[in-house]
């Protein structure tokens, strides 16, 4: 009978346009919107602390060099600029020290100014007729702090762009960092500015520890999908209440089907629906936005763990609605709780941009764990490296099931 109920539920949900809109269309739309609008990476005024970075000088410092001295401009003007200081704080360190600090997460990234930095840049920006010489600035970033790395990268790009023509240097800096401009406006400004000022100085993003950086589309695909998993649980729990209201529940009970069977089938439906949801979103995001999800087998394992915790949540909601006999629990989930978890878990903004307390809390959210597991899979972490997140998801699943079972046994009379 369990199978018949499961089949019926899947059929009802997968032919319900409103439900499909919520669990499949909405996440895809949101993903596209957030992915596109935050492509520039300067994500509004959410920075709480300046990003700590290191600067490694491979060239020979020469403070007395003739003007314009790129070194002086970089350290004296650019990094000391009030706006820039709000975003990054730097220390000049050796390459070995930089690797150590990066590994211990004391800095988010480090910038390597190459041997020919001063001479090359000076040559490139002067009005002589020498051909431009490539100056390779490297950024080595902590893969855990993807966004910080991207911010640093954007800053360096802006800096290089501003170095292009020293005659308009002051004007350019004015333009990039007017005193009262807000960050999001600046983001587009910077992006536009950078486009207008392509030049020969190249920036290399070096993989640290073999882990890739991920794009905003990748991040938001995982983040929004994880948030919308909640709605899979909501949709299936709602179905159970519909059954009570519509008396099909009563009819099944009279026919001798046990409430536990119905609730179990409902919980399995939540698992299946969330799996289908993730499958569609993953396929769509990779086809439409070119999102790479990393190892597909590993992503599937993550998806399964996430689905199990959604099944647990679904069971808990189902029991709660069966006991209370109203939609309040589900409405609360869909309107308030999801939003809170979305924020805490990093579905709207990467948690690294949020205060440290929130960062810690995100490990206690279902979506937060799923986002971490998915994005780390994208970055190339292996299964054992993401085990903590998967365990978290499984613990959630078990916890929810235990609560569901407890309520079910305790309030049995109200359910039958």
């Amino acid at each position: 009978m369990y199978i018949s109920i499961l089949g019926r539920e899947l059929r009802l949900i997968l032919t319900d346009r409103a439900a499909l809109l919520t669990i499949i269309v909405m996440p895809i739309v949101l993903m596209a919107i957030l992915g596109l609008s935050l492509q520039g990476m300067f994500t509004e005024s959410v920075w709480t602390t300046a990003i700590p970075i290191g600067v490694v000088q491979e060239y020979q410092p020469d403070p007395d060099r003739q003007q314009p001295n790129p070194e002086k401009i970089f350290f004296g003007e650019f990094l000391e600029n009030e706006q820039v200081k709000k975003m990054v704080s730097y220390t000049v360190i050796s390459a070995a020290e930089a690797d150590r600090l990066l590994a211990s997460e004391e800095i988010a990234a480090y910038v390597v100014l190459p041997q020919n930095y001063v001479a090359g840049t000076q040559n490139n920006i002067s009005l002589n007729n020498q051909p431009n010489e490539p100056v390779n600035i490297k950024i080595i970033a902590d893969p855990e702090r993807n966004y910080s790395a991207l911010v640093v990268e954007e800053l360096i790009k802006v800096f290089n762009a501003s170095m292009q023509d020293m005659t308009v240097k002051t004007a350019i800096l004015e333009r990039s960092f007017p005193a009262n401009l807000n960050w999001s406006a600046k983001a587009t400004d910077i992006a536009r500015f950078y486009q207008d000022n392509q030049q020969e100085i190249s920036i290399e993003n070096i993989e640290f520890d073999g882990k890739k950086q991920i794009s905003s589309f990748q991040y938001y695909s995982a983040a929004i999908m994880s948030m919308f998993l909640f709605f899979s649980a909501g949709v299936t729990a709602t179905r159970l209440l519909d059954e009570r209201r519509g008396y099909t529940w009563q009819r099944q009970i009279v026919a001798g089907i046990r409430p536990a069977t119905i609730i179990l089938a409902n919980c399995t439906t939540a698992i299946m629906v969330s799996l289908i949801q993730m499958l569609i979103v993953v396929i769509f995001s990779s086809l439409a936005f070119g999102v790479a999800w990393g190892s597909l087998t590993q992503a599937a394992v993550v998806g399964l763990c996430a689905a199990l915790s959604i099944g647990g949540l679904g069971a808990m909601l189902a029991v709660l609605t069966a006991v209370t006999g109203n939609y309040k629990v589900i409405t609360a989930l869909e309107s308030v709780i999801v939003q809170i978890f979305a924020l805490l878990g990093g579905s709207y903004l990467p948690v690294e941009l949020l205060p440290p307390l929130v960062q810690r809390l995100s490990n206690f959210t279902l979506n937060g764990l799923a986002i971490q597991a998915f994005t780390k899979t994208m970055q190339g972490y292996n299964l054992s490296q993401i085990t903590p997140y998967l365990s978290g998801l499984i613990i959630f699943a078990v916890l929810f099931l235990v609560i569901a079972y407890g309520i079910f046994v305790g309030k049995r009379r109200q359910i039958v």
Binding site: S4, G246, Y247
Partner: protein
């Protein structure tokens, strides 16, 4: 204890919060019999039936099915019970056929047996052509028929129908009544709930009249009529001064519609003389006068001072 009845409801009570919906109902049903529960809205009919189906537990009192207390063993009744809820209990986004299939499976039917039952039942409820349409596209009457069909697939021994004809066209209604009658004649015991006395009168061998959570009268149609054989519904009309007349009639149970009156009289012999005396006092004349044969309606009116339907 010896049970001659297959179902015995013994003084069951049920409260919702401080409101007592059923105040101590007793009834019995013999094998193959058809009984009716008749009563106005809120009388407690559905609550009583819900306790019989074991969906609701009585606060006190016992329900025996074939001699077994259903509270301690609900399987005994559930397996043999076909229950048609008052509301349409179907999956609107599935077809009629899929609804029948699902509930057939719920009763343990599979494969050949299931498809045979579906063919047979869709024939009985007269809904074969549009079986593959979604229920939400059905008319009210068709929904009601499928609602009944879903309770018949497993060949129940006891059929409980809670107002199965509400809100449908006369044709569907007649079909449903005939179906129930046939099923009863084939040996299935029936509990039929309604607030239409004609339906109950046509279908049921015995009738329980409920009001405000109590059974206020029970028996065969003739017994119920006989109990109040001296009570008749007397209709008359006056030519004027109807308000005066109404005041003088306060002792009687009155329904008034302008200058037309209906009273419940316990002694029809002297009633016309009495009315004439009253009319004289009120300063009017009796224009027409008739005494109706007693019906369940008049029994109810007599017992409660109200009509079955408002």
């Amino acid at each position: 204890m010896i049970f001659i009845s297959i179902l015995l409801v013994d003084n069951v009570k049920k409260s919702y919060g401080s409101f007592q919906a059923v105040k101590g109902v007793s009834l019995e049903l013999h094998g193959g019999e058809s009984i009716g529960l008749l009563g106005p809205n809120g009388a407690g009919k559905s609550t009583t039936v819900s306790m019989i189906t074991t969906l609701t537990q009585p606060d006190s009192g016992t329900i025996y099915y074939k001699g077994t207390d259903t509270a301690s063993n609900n399987k005994i009744i559930r397996g043999e019970l076909g229950f048609v809820p008052q509301d349409i209990a179907l999956y609107n986004n599935l077809s009629g056929l899929d609804n029948l299939k699902f509930f057939g499976k719920a009763y343990g039917l599979r494969g050949e047996k299931l498809s045979k039952a579906i063919t047979e039942i869709s024939n009985i409820i007269g809904i074969e052509e549009r079986l593959k349409d979604l229920v939400k596209n059905y008319s009210g009457g068709m929904k009601r028929r499928i609602n009944i069909g879903c309770a018949l697939l497993h060949n129940p021994r006891l059929l409980i129908l809670d107002e199965p004809t509400v809100g449908i066209d006369p044709q569907s209604r007649n079909h449903i009544l005939e179906t129930v009658k046939k099923l009863n004649e084939s040996g299935i015991s029936v509990i039929y709930i309604s607030h239409y006395m004609e339906e109950v009168q046509a279908l049921c061998q015995r009738i329980y009249i409920m009001d405000h959570g109590n059974v206020i009268a029970s028996g065969t149609h003739d017994q119920l009529i006989a109990v109040s054989h001296t009570h008749r519904m007397v209709s008359f009309a006056v030519d004027s001064n109807e308000d005066e007349m109404s005041k003088l009639l306060t002792a009687k149970k009155v329904q008034q519609n302008g200058r037309e009156f209906v009273i419940s009289a316990d002694n029809t012999a002297g009633i016309l003389t009495e009315l004439n005396t009253l009319a004289e006092q009120a300063g009017c004349q009796i224009l027409s006068y008739s005494v109706a044969e007693p019906t369940l309606e008049s029994v109810f009116l007599n017992l409660t001072g109200r009509t079955l339907r408002d």
